[in-house]
């Protein structure tokens, strides 16, 4: 008699069919989570608005941010100040040089977004390369890369950035480059641990057993599974870079006048704080709104892509 290993299990009557058990498709669930998430809705729409304003600043802005200055028009108050000096042509008033504050605010969004995004991109490439390499190869590679990360962390970003910028001179691109070369640590740390976790999973072992190349395994098996972490860190680091640029510009060692940077606008208005606090309030609030929207979006992405990690 042939050994009968197992008898086929018939579908017992009355059990729910596959369609009944099936939940909505993953994409549908994802859509539901995305659009049911206040953080993503609020953060995403605010960010979108700021991005649109930045892109279309030349069309939207009533004046030129640098050339249209008239000292006779300086320090016009914004619309909520019930003052006879208010000029409807300048709804947010004018700065010390008589430049339209709304215009400079709009162009300032360009600077913040450009620096934040570019610096984040540079650090993403550096940090992800280091992190994935450390996590995937482990051993000596990991020891060396961890050492590099530790060394990088032990040098304060603000101080090193200030020193470097002061030594090699300051321009928009130098600020982007310096920040990009300094803030990759989070990418490296997060990617390292995420890669480590995934590397030990069975499906990666299976790919390796099949003789897949390292490149193939990293690109096809690991990257798709760490990309949600990557997006979260990317948003946080973009916000980080924007804050750092603002701080550098505030200290006079970032973007140079007359470029309209929000940090620089706050710095220029510092002396007027007693009488015209709105000069500081407006660009600061814009900065706050931008960082807040990016962070809300990042938190939202984390919640939505890893619902099991919520709470």
């Amino acid at each position: 008699m042939a050994p009968q290993e197992s008898t086929p299990i018939a579908q017992p009557a009355g059990l729910p069919t596959a369609e009944e058990i099936m939940e909505p498709s993953p994409m549908a669930q994802m859509r539901k989570r995305v659009f049911g998430h206040y953080g993503i809705i609020i953060g995403g729409s605010t960010l979108l608005l700021i991005v649109l304003v930045a892109i279309f600043a030349p069309l939207l802005a009533p004046f030129d941010p640098i050339l249209d200055q008239d000292l006779a028009d300086k320090l016009k108050p914004p619309f909520w100040h019930d003052s006879p000096k208010y000029d409807p042509a300048h709804p947010l008033g004018t700065d010390l040089q008589g430049r339209d504050y709304l215009t400079r605010l709009m162009y300032g969004a360009q600077i913040s977004l450009l620096i934040g995004f570019s610096a984040m991109l540079i650090s993403l490439v550096i940090g992800t390369t280091l992190g994935v390499a450390a996590g995937y190869f482990g051993g000596r590679v990991d020891i060396i890369i961890t050492f590099i990360i530790t060394t990088r962390l032990s040098m304060p970003v603000v101080l090193v950035a200030l020193a470097v910028v002061s030594l090699i001179g300051s321009s928009l691109w130098i600020v982007i480059g310096v920040l990009g070369l300094l803030i990759w640590d989070q990418f490296a740390v997060v990617m390292r641990s995420a890669t480590m976790q995934i590397r030990n999973l069975d499906y990666v072992a299976a790919a390796r057993a099949c003789g897949c190349s390292t490149f193939h395994i990293v690109a096809k098996e690991i990257m798709p599974n760490v990309v949600n972490h990557l997006i979260v860190v990317a948003t946080l680091e973009m916000a980080h870079a924007i804050l750092l640029e603002a701080a550098l510009s505030f200290l006079g060692l970032g973007v140079q006048p007359p470029t309209p940077s929000w940090g620089l606008m706050i710095s220029e208005a510092k002396g007027m704080m007693f009488f015209d606090a709105w000069l500081i309030g407006i660009p600061g609030a814009a900065l706050f709104a931008l960082i807040l929207s990016i962070n809300l979006l990042g938190d939202g992405v984390r919640d939505v892509t890893a619902p099991e990690n919520r709470n």
Binding site: Q4, I9, A10, P12, A13, G14, L15, P16
Partner: protein, 341 residues
Amino acid sequence: MTDGTEHELILKVENLTVDIPVAAGMLHPVQAVSFEVRRGETLCIVGESGCGKSLTSLSIMNLLPSTAIRTATHLALDGEELQNVSENRMADIRGDKMAMIFQEPMTSLNPSYTIGNQLEEALLRHRKVSKSEARDRAVYLLEKVGITAARSRLTQYPHQLSGGLRQRVMIAMALMCGPEMIIADEPTTALDVTIQAQILHLLADLQKEFNMGMILITHDLGVVSRIADRVAVMYAGQVVETGTAKQVFENPTHPYTQGLLECIPIPGKTERGAHLGSIPGIVPSLVGDLPGCHFADRCRYAADRCRTGEITLRDSFDPGHVYRCVLQPDECAAHLKKGAA
């Protein structure tokens, strides 16, 4: 009772029900479960994963997750009704009159404190004793549970002990206040097979020695046949059969119990080379109301009458032996003989 003596009732559970609101509706993991435990007696609760065994034990200790809702007509320890006592009173009872041993010895001890600290704490919480008295009690119990060099173990941390040793520590910890009732929730599942038997024998011995009532939750029927006085078989949140160990093992009446027993080889009874049984299908979802017999979808004798109304517990051959099925006891027995033939 089978041995003819009537022991003092320690734990009385009647119509214990646990409901947990979940996204898809209301989950009913424990449905009107009733049983009694007497002093010096071991009740084994048997069933597959997810049948509600663990939640039953946690609900007796009132350690359910905060979203869970517990109801019962009776939940009495030593005559004291526990349903509406304050959390303070419940905390006084836990670890003192009633103690619990968990499934995962590897994670059930706090990694930051020594074994001694965690053992002594249990006694210091409930008794007015000095630290050195508590330490002596800890050493005494560590020796009782078979740990050598007990006094030097007190200063060790959990990560320095193996899983088997940690479970022995957990047992000692449960015994610190000399409880009347002990609940062991699959205490050996996470351990090596060779150690499982040692731990179970240890538990059974201690239970007799200290004359406690014990609930042992397990899915290992081999274990049950050796140490249980009474057995409750649970399926999908309900007790489907309960009786003395002898009754249930000699005259398994519910088709599920029969199926379970066919799944294990019994030395001397199961023929060499014979196929062991298996129960096809999966445990049904317990979200929402499930009419009829919960086992119907997997039962080989299922008929239309099994799928409507509520199937209640009924007497089997002997008094005290009840089961939850529409078939008569002799019908079940006949089926069993046919199946075995």
